[in-house]
Symmetry: D2
Amino acid sequence: MVDVPEVSVRALGPCRIASPLAPLIDDKRTTQHYVDEDDRVLLDDTLSMIAQRNVPIDSLPGFEPAGPRRKIFFDPSKTRVGIVTCGGLCPGLNDVIRGLVLELTSHYGVTRIFGFRNGYQGFIARYGHSVLDLTPELVSTINENGGTILGTSRGQQDPEEVVDCLERMSITILFVVGGDGSLRGALEIGRVARERGDKIAVVGVPKTIDNDVPYIDQSFGFQTAFSKAAESIRAAHVEAMSSPNGIGVVKLMGRHSGFLACYASLANSDADVVLVPEVPFAFDGDGGLLRFLHRRVEERGHAVVVVAEGAGQDLLAQEDPATPQGSDASGNVKLRDVGQLLTRRITDHFAAAKMELNLKYIDPSYVIRSVPANPYDSVYCIRLSHAAVHAAMSGRTEVIVGRWRRRFVHVPITMAISHRSQVDPAGDLWLSVLEATGQPVRFR
Amino acid sequence: MVDVPEVSVRALGPCRIASPLAPLIDDKRTTQHYVDEDDRVLLDDTLSMIAQRNVPIDSLPGFEPAGPRRKIFFDPSKTRVGIVTCGGLCPGLNDVIRGLVLELTSHYGVTRIFGFRNGYQGFIARYGHSVLDLTPELVSTINENGGTILGTSRGQQDPEEVVDCLERMSITILFVVGGDGSLRGALEIGRVARERGDKIAVVGVPKTIDNDVPYIDQSFGFQTAFSKAAESIRAAHVEAMSSPNGIGVVKLMGRHSGFLACYASLANSDADVVLVPEVPFAFDGDGGLLRFLHRRVEERGHAVVVVAEGAGQDLLAQEDPATPQGSDASGNVKLRDVGQLLTRRITDHFAAAKMELNLKYIDPSYVIRSVPANPYDSVYCIRLSHAAVHAAMSGRTEVIVGRWRRRFVHVPITMAISHRSQVDPAGDLWLSVLEATGQPVRFR
Amino acid sequence: MVDVPEVSVRALGPCRIASPLAPLIDDKRTTQHYVDEDDRVLLDDTLSMIAQRNVPIDSLPGFEPAGPRRKIFFDPSKTRVGIVTCGGLCPGLNDVIRGLVLELTSHYGVTRIFGFRNGYQGFIARYGHSVLDLTPELVSTINENGGTILGTSRGQQDPEEVVDCLERMSITILFVVGGDGSLRGALEIGRVARERGDKIAVVGVPKTIDNDVPYIDQSFGFQTAFSKAAESIRAAHVEAMSSPNGIGVVKLMGRHSGFLACYASLANSDADVVLVPEVPFAFDGDGGLLRFLHRRVEERGHAVVVVAEGAGQDLLAQEDPATPQGSDASGNVKLRDVGQLLTRRITDHFAAAKMELNLKYIDPSYVIRSVPANPYDSVYCIRLSHAAVHAAMSGRTEVIVGRWRRRFVHVPITMAISHRSQVDPAGDLWLSVLEATGQPVRFR
Amino acid sequence: MVDVPEVSVRALGPCRIASPLAPLIDDKRTTQHYVDEDDRVLLDDTLSMIAQRNVPIDSLPGFEPAGPRRKIFFDPSKTRVGIVTCGGLCPGLNDVIRGLVLELTSHYGVTRIFGFRNGYQGFIARYGHSVLDLTPELVSTINENGGTILGTSRGQQDPEEVVDCLERMSITILFVVGGDGSLRGALEIGRVARERGDKIAVVGVPKTIDNDVPYIDQSFGFQTAFSKAAESIRAAHVEAMSSPNGIGVVKLMGRHSGFLACYASLANSDADVVLVPEVPFAFDGDGGLLRFLHRRVEERGHAVVVVAEGAGQDLLAQEDPATPQGSDASGNVKLRDVGQLLTRRITDHFAAAKMELNLKYIDPSYVIRSVPANPYDSVYCIRLSHAAVHAAMSGRTEVIVGRWRRRFVHVPITMAISHRSQVDPAGDLWLSVLEATGQPVRFR
């Protein structure tokens, strides 16, 4: 029997106010496609999963569907809203800000929306960041640019001070657009507000360039990011093809999860090897990476290696056990540079084998995360931000909005930060990578 | 109680041959994410849906998961494969052809793969189309171009003649990449082969620029197509903004389903009105389209209308009841031109109101379907084609591969052609369109 | 002996005020590359041309170089500036507006800049268009969008009324961004102001999507436009390749000049035939277009025809001699539709020959002119607008800025409207088209 | 008086064979635009330049115009041609190869064209590189990919051995697509062939990502490269804007010439500082770079620095006088890393000033040179390759084809390698950069 997780969503209280969107909802003909607000979107998607739960059908775990409610909790005319973006950039941040503001104003009639600058710093007086009045005019075309008009920063701030600020400004809805660490912060803010008896809805829109937040099909901006990353792999391929014994090495983001490396590599099938944090690899030996590359270069004249920044950290620690690793402002452990290790080991190998080598190293870094969202992600962001507004107006709190099996749902923040989503070495994505590259199941 | 549909997949016989991919599979650690080949992916995704089935959990309907099997039906060394692409172009056709060929050759060791030219015409002797030998070298970079290297054509051919051709060439696996009509043809071919006792696997890869094949999350090429279509909406918006009382009208594909119009319109939120086949509309009256446009132009100085070609066909039939509608080679009813009707009615309205009008009409037509697949669709196509090869090698037939709730699955062709997927006027996509445009629930 | 044209530029008076840009200029080391303000850029570029002038070297015709002067005519602190954009859209309009505003404010310190809306209508009271205050903040990112934030319109207005408006607003510099007709208007405005004794500098920035303004190497936005147009040719090619006997027909802008059709066709070499206004063609006969297409389709299976809208107008007039042609608001004669004629004649020909034909017609229309400028055109626009500001501040009037043999120069408007630049059927551009397509020198 | 340079082009002998292109030429109506093959394109473009020559008009220096001749030197039916690409990648290499092959085969009827692999290595037996038969089929779509299908390598080979190879293979026309060093090699090959009495035409197509070959308006691929580079500047800008005190540093190619940095920076005006090899700069002091950045960050909250790799080499040498600099295979001195120096000095400065700093460093490196040519460069490449074929068939040798003042011309290789083209600190391009960035004339 598999545990039934706690998927119920915290609410600030009963919804008693008629929603301005009720006409849109009530016009709806009832069809099987519509998810009623009292229905639940199944957490599981296979027969064996639900069988293993060993509970009656009506006890199967399911997420609350997102979307507008007939009745809402907050009185729009008296509601003041805050928005903050935290952590590293990701395509689509401005789309989300814009979507939140437009939905709040044009459909709910909320008129006071404040943008806090530079992440959680924006709430703390000593940083001195001014607050931005977010109006429909101000945000109308911001989606055409990458980045975030609110700015961002890494790291936590004292949740007590944040709630102080919210109280001072009479803000009762706070949208946090951020990743793992920022959502933990949001949870703390929600908790503090709750303990103080404040009726403040804290709603997260999960942001992760690594696509590693669980219980969401795919994070916003991810398609844009891997599409952009694929350009670097193509560049490495072209360079490798154009020189005798050319090898291209491309380092991509991905601290704990290799989704970006996998998808970008599948996008044009130029990669010969993909290295991700989830699958350990060895350099040496008959089944090792170096021998594989050696053979590829002999057979095809060139090769491309795509490596996620978090891959091979165990090997790096072995190479350099003495140096302690620091952390950045978000508390992320600073990674050792696998790109340098790879180029050094490959160079040494070919030198030892007395083979010519033309190695080109490409690190697209920030370029993939600062571009505007592509059309798919734009659509996704606008729908996600609509869902976030509906959730907040109905008094949901300590919750994120996500898309689960293509349905927009409410996921408790506690679940969203319970673990990281990773590439399953036994799943179909990694299998596709193995099929596309022809690399062995493991380099060992 | 809701009927339990027949989702079981037809197979040519028991799988007794060890798959060359078994090592990839057997290496897998067992995890909850892996879908076992005996498991089923639930057809339903909400609690109320499965409750309404009123059957025990283990009788809930579910699709067979796609993916490699440990044992396969066909002996790769003796297998000859045919591939055909049918109907209108769609981004990703070459990606699918390439994916099929590379998976067949590099992972299963199949060496005889034949491309039939110009759709089902390619099987019929009197058309005189030569057959293309599909090798890894030939297909290695075809994904960089739009269209299909096999060519295509509309319309059916006699399934008996097609099976004659397959028999003559000893082909035992046929991949049909095509839409609704072509899949009906594939079903006929499968039936004829079955009745003759031929062990021929007929596996479809569903193709539809309108995204209207049911039981697949999204059809390949659809994201590329709506992204391209969004450019025309942007152009219309820029033109409309740059002239006094500017109105842009954009006609997009979408005979029966308005998905393309909805997604393209959401992509940059430039549209003021979206018209789709699923939602009837009226021109006249206080709640009609013309009055709405009139007001928008007064308030904002400009407006953009996006119309799917299949919208308003009832109005067109009223205008011109005498002319009978013909059909094209695929048997599709020829649509009357809603774009012309719109421009005429809008022009007349503004003339009657003695208002200046600068109307620009844009029909991107073929441009949106002839572009190469974007990175997302490329990844999707390669994974879809891998799934199709696994299905065929394991002897599945009269089946398509699709993605259901993000799982790759086998769907019987009978289900795939049972109805068209449409935009649900009561669902969350249309609600997002209403929220983004601010247009009323219905023009009436 | 060839006439020496009048290339001298009209100036409002002597320059006596030290330019704020003098430090930038005076810092310059003297080098051969710098063009001194008293020097002249040769009108001619070959030995035979200057020999034919039969004048002493120092009498050879040459344009005044553009660029900053050490002394200027207008006192920046008292200068009020107007900007207007006229005629059809063209990529780069917003770049030019932005470049003018930024140069005026940050380098000359001019603070009052007015944007007149919707072309020359903006000066005329009865249209009721408000005036836009153009500030650096307002224009800082407008270059990222196509179109023009000022709006535009076709057609002339009474120059007396325009000068009335300029006098009322104390505007002494007027920038007109427009084409042939709008520059004629600018000349009239300059003349009226001159006759009234007003010291008003009227400086044009020539805009033409057809690249047909003479004495400028290439008009701004042209590269962006032909790059975009090339996408349609590629689409037509992909469609034509994908069907038995496929023919793609692409109609592009180009009323009197085929530059757009030529460059777009050379960009990817997909075209089999290019038809331009400068080279008459015949449909019938052994050397006619239809026979050529017939052969191409027989030999290659497909063909692509690119036609400029102004091509074949003589043939259209023959077909339909009765109907008189009207004119649009700019006084342009309305063209008959060569695209329809082509598709009809091709369809008839193949029907008569009893050959299958799959003809696809693509008209990208406004899509090619409403996109933002590409990086090359952005650079060009910013440099052009800098040159325009320098010209105006030094009191030049009835002049355009252009680029001649890669030097920025001042060209009297009288020269710029003296004739249209056209594709020379005897020149190297057309020769390149003939070489790339393999079409005969003439269809006749 | 300024020296009259030697611009006459070496020819292998008189042209006595009627060109297959004569009909195209003879059809030409004589117009002033056509450049007759006996005419000359003026080297100078201003009145003062030609006045300073102090020679009669008919002695003014001028380039021989490129283009087809009525009579040619080589008999196409007996001509064998070699093509080689050398040095670093550049967008458009495949366009040039394709253009050469198509023009040679379809217009001159030359059928034996050999592609030598990996630069000059391809001629030398001990490298063992096979030769590629270049046919129209093989090259028909190679322009859609970046890189070069022939591969490339850096460095010279013994010209005697190269000529040995040409003699062995009876090759009489050699096209060298390469930069400064490779053109020197081509000159040597031409000299050796000449001294041996071989009638071998050696024709160069100048390739330089730095746009530093003199006497050509702009090198092929340059627009594509700076457009791509502009994306990195945009990314740096977005990152800098999104963090408190954000500074983006972008390092671009440009060993001796800053054209790429200048044009890319002008493309979107995001740069606050542009550093090029031609303009020395100082870090410290009131007029130094660091103080300027400090002020920008205080005023605007962020700043972007674009640096060409060759900038500041004098400062780097001072910092690290001990380490000798090596050279690469092409003999290029290895540059010290100005990007590292910049980031270190900026970081130190802000640390000393106790200001928060969020510095993001972007090095797009190979990505900008491995992309396919954009439409403009594609057109340019095809026209350039046509010109090269005409030059070679008419027996010109030790010559490059280029575009001078928008005319295609023949330039002796000796002139093309006489010096590097550089950004003139007193010219209008650098002035535009100063105007766009607002940076001072010099940091000192």
